[in-house]
């Protein structure tokens, strides 16, 4: 009963201007990323120097113009959404699994396991955000796998803190001790009693982590530390745009606008979820 009225409230909230904006933007993005080969008017990597730096054309084939080597901006932006989404989702899932596992272990078992995990957390947290990611890419080299690990290197921490706190309080609750006295194993208790209680809050953490992951990924691509330069990414397109800023404003405007709208939509969605699922949870 309580649950269903909560769900209705959430549905109501998603219809507010905030919620609607974020759902529309995220929906469009998912469509663009999924059907990129069908929607994109051109091959995102096809160069045509004769058409280099064509300004946006309302009626011509290059709606958003072309870049410095004549690649179609629109197609690159559509394909770029794939990289941004793929990396952000991978980073959020990876850091979620690592963080929740470490956090639950830490809180449920306590003792030495807890203090070792917390010490490790403290060391990783001592790095300014993004700096650890930059160092990992700088030393270990560029590639999709390394990039995901680098971006997840600090993002597991909010999950870990949350999961530890929940596990600590749940450990002492009656239904957990009841399960234990009935002979349930630790792994069963964790799976059936502790994890389900975490999901809502972890979802909110994940939404905000997704927003920061997209900004971080495009920042690294902008600095030339993201995926290899041949893959179209929004950050990489902005990096190209810097050299042509005085002549081709469209090269700088559109990819950045995509990053901004995407991140804004995800942040707004996170805010709606937080207000309606867990008003106590502070910004992660």
């Amino acid at each position: 009963m309580v649950r269903s009225s909560k769900t209705r409230q959430l549905a109501q909230a998603l219809k507010s201007p905030k919620g609607a904006f974020s759902l529309v933007v995220i929906g469009l993005l998912l469509l663009a990323a999924t059907f990129a080969p069908l929607i994109a008017p051109f091959d995102p990597n096809r160069q045509d120097l004769m058409l280099a730096m064509t300004p946006p054309q309302l009626t011509g084939p290059h709606f958003l113009g072309t870049d410095h080597v004549g690649r179609d901006m629109m197609s690159r932006i559509i394909y770029g959404s794939r990289v941004s989404l793929l990396i952000a989702v991978a980073v959020v899932l990876f850091s979620g699994v690592v963080g929740v596992t470490l956090g639950v272990t830490s809180g449920y078992y306590g003792g030495r396991v807890d203090s070792i995990i917390q010490k490790f957390l403290e060391v990783v947290w001592a790095f300014p955000p993004l700096l650890l990611a930059i160092s990992i890419v700088a030393f270990l080299g560029q590639g999709l796998g390394i990039l995901i690990v680098a971006l997840a290197s600090q993002r597991w921490i909010p999950y870990c803190r949350l999961a530890r706190a929940e596990a600590l309080t749940l450990r002492e609750r009656e239904f957990v001790s009841a399960a234990r006295s009935l002979g349930a194993s630790d792994s069963r208790i964790l799976r059936t009693h502790i994890l389900p209680n975490l999901i809502q809050s972890a979802l909110i953490v994940a939404t905000f982590a997704m927003a920061t992951a997209i900004i971080a990924e495009s920042s690294l691509s902008f600095l030339g530390l993201g995926v290899p330069a041949s893959t179209p990414t929004w950050g990489g397109m902005l990096s190209d745009a810097r050299a042509y800023i005085s002549t081709s404003w469209w090269m700088a405007l559109f990819p950045g606008l995509c990053i901004f709208c995407t991140v804004l939509a995800i942040n707004l969605l996170g805010d709606v979820l937080r207000t309606h699922l867990d008003p106590r949870l502070s910004r992660a």
Partner: protein
Amino acid sequence: MLGYTLRRVAGTIPVLFMVSLLIFALVQFAPGDPVDMLVSDEATEEVRLAIRSAWGLDQPVYVQYLTFLKNAVMGDFGQSFRYREPVMDLILQRLPASLELAIYSTLLAVGIGLPLGVWAASRPNSFIDTIGSIGGFFGISLPNFWLGILLILLFAGTFNLLPSGGRETWGLNVERVTGFLTIDSIIAGRWDALWDALRHLALPVVVLGTNMTGIIMQITRASVLENLQEDYVMTARAKGMSGRVVLWRHAFRNALIAVITIIGLEFGTLISGAIIVETVFAWPGIGYLLLQGISFRDFPLITGLVLVYTTMFVLINLAIDMIYTVVDPRIRLG
């Protein structure tokens, strides 16, 4: 208080030690042979061996680490591969530029974010509050490098009002005392140089400060609102205090704790933001140096910079913890 301070300072040492170990491990896992970065392709095997022993690369890993640690504690991060100068000298030359940028950005963010947050909280759900809340979301969602590029496009390109990058116009030659160009120009009485420095600072400071302004505003609003609902505020009102006194003397002062925490946390974001902003504006600070170090795979330089950045971050957070105890006497020194 002294005992507490000493204990807290001592507590950061193991953390910094582990940080150094982590960075050292990353360098060890790096693909490729560092000797390749030091010699030309045609170098003979003898030359390579000589270089290897000269840089201590033939020692066992733990000896290399202990040497590295011993030197790092003394502030010696070795020679830069590329510049062939001590890393610490390179960092110290560029540190004032980064600090100047970071300090002005923080001042801007606090100066705008704090009053706007209090104002929004004093009129919840009003027009001002809505605008502020939208602005706050924009602030945290804007990628700073994009904002930087757009502002360069507008103010350096279209309107041609401000320089697009760098820190000073070449040839002004102000005598360096503090390394902060704005202060040095005042000391030298060079108003032309001061104006020049401020013009160069304007865009990077706005870009670096925007994100922080949004966050400070949101946190200030939320914590002032929360405090306004407390009983002591009701009591103060019941005693007949004016709204303004209740707002500033009671709610705002108690909300400051949350705001200070955020300013401390945001300093980390400011550091990483500065790496990007310095790159966008070719600002000759340590962030720009880091990116140059990365593109030349200059490992001693990268290592030194990462350690300096992290140490600064840890110390700032320590300082914030100290400030707490002053601002809020309720916090016991445990």
